[in-house]
Symmetry: C2
Subunit: 221 residues, 2 copies
DNA sequence: TTCCTTATTGACCGCTGGGTTAGGGAGATG
DNA sequence: CATCTCCCTAACCCAGCGGTCAATAAGGAA
């Protein structure tokens, strides 16, 4: 970026390449087995690189770990940002909730990793905690605002203040998240869950049968 | 238990004492820092016992870990079993939900430990996974049954089949559990949460104001 | 007392972990 | 060409790990 970078291209990209390779390997290993069960030698082997090179790129193991954290956090910010659009509030809420669930489904492994990290309560990585909580609060605020506007237009139940409804809804979403994370075969039914949530939020009538046979495939943990 | 136990008392209790001391120390350390970040020497120091003695009581580190798991699981079985009583169904549901939340509040540290363990997906400790999931399914079945009976008596909404309602409720409860685990100052409002759940389940009217000022203290994550 | 079993320990071992170091090869610069 | 800098490696270092063992203390039983 600065003046020093008018250097040769091939060498720089070579360095970048190996760095990326290391990060990629480390991300996979750390995410799937945790930092303490993953040795630097394993990372080196997975990245097909000498152990010493890792220590040339990253001062310590913790350094590498932090870099991995940032790398894994990347998809989070972009995905949540842009829920704007020309939809009405009701559809926006639906969309927001749906994108939450979709995101959870598609990023299960890194989410599992982050939650495990947060649960572990290592005060060392408080950076991560704050970052994740900030994202979470952003989502919550967005949702609260949206629900509040929907209520004003009379499009959904005003039984509870928007803030409370949002918190409640988020709790449920988080519960479903846990469901996603624990079900091994990954067969949680998105449609069913969305249907239930819409019914609850907007008091819509159930899609097909009025009460009889259970929808069978719901499995929200 | 068998005939061999007509042995001397003092020596046996001495052995038991040291064993318990080790288990106590190991439980605390494993639960707070995880198994891989806890060395046997640390356990020994915390239990004020030589490292070799630990290996006399428990063949390997994993042995000790499994013993710790069982020890930590003990409070779970008893607490869930006895929700019988002469209450009507509505009150029973309320009680069941309340005891879930209370239990979560009081056992946050071991729950955190278990979830971290489950998330980690170590196939080694599948025993634990199954045990926890069995407990969980038991609770779910109890709740489903209870809701089903309540619906039959027309005491609560029949909008959804009991099974689905139970799964949904459980998701919400789990979301609240996550809230408990992440909120540092432990200041989650039980009353508020219970109120919201009762209103949702039984369509009760909100306790005070109809829509205006938010109840402020709810904070369900 | 003597003997036998049960508890307990300090010292030790092999090995793996994170981290270092000395040096080699490749490309840009002069 | 020589030189300098940047990547990269094999080999090494050693603290701390899980685990073992020989020796011992502390009681019963005889």
């Amino acid at each position: 970026m600065a003046a020093t970078d008018t250097r040769a291209v091939s060498s720089e990209s070579r360095s970048q390449d190996s760095r990326d390779e290391i990060l990629k390997a480390a991300s996979a290993l750390f995410a799937s087995r945790g930092i303490h069960e993953t040795s630097m030698s394993e990372v080196a082997r997975a990245a097909r690189v000498s152990k010493a090179l890792i220590f040339w790129h990253f001062k310590t193991k913790e350094d590498l770990f932090l870099a991995v954290l940032n790398r894994l956090l990347e998809p989070y910010v972009i995905d949540f940002a842009e829920e704007a659009g020309v939809l009405d509030e009701k559809a926006q809420i639906t969309k927001l909730v749906e994108s939450y669930l979709l995101f959870v489904r598609d990023n299960a492994s890194s989410i599992r990793f982050f939650i495990a990290q947060l649960l572990h309560g290592d005060r060392t990585y408080e950076v991560l905690t704050n970052q994740v909580l900030a994202l979470y609060d952003g989502y919550r605020a967005l949702l609260t605002d949206l629900i509040s506007r929907t209520q004003e237009k009379g499009l959904c139940s005003r039984e509870f203040p928007a803030q409370v409804t949002a918190a409640f809804l988020l709790s449920t979403l988080n519960g479903m998240l846990l469901g996603f994370l624990f079900v091994r075969d990954g067969g949680v039914d998105l449609e069913g869950a969305m249907g239930m949530l819409r019914q609850w939020l907007f008091r819509e009538a159930p899609p097909s049968e009025p009460s009889g046979v259970p929808t069978q495939s719901v499995r929200t943990l």
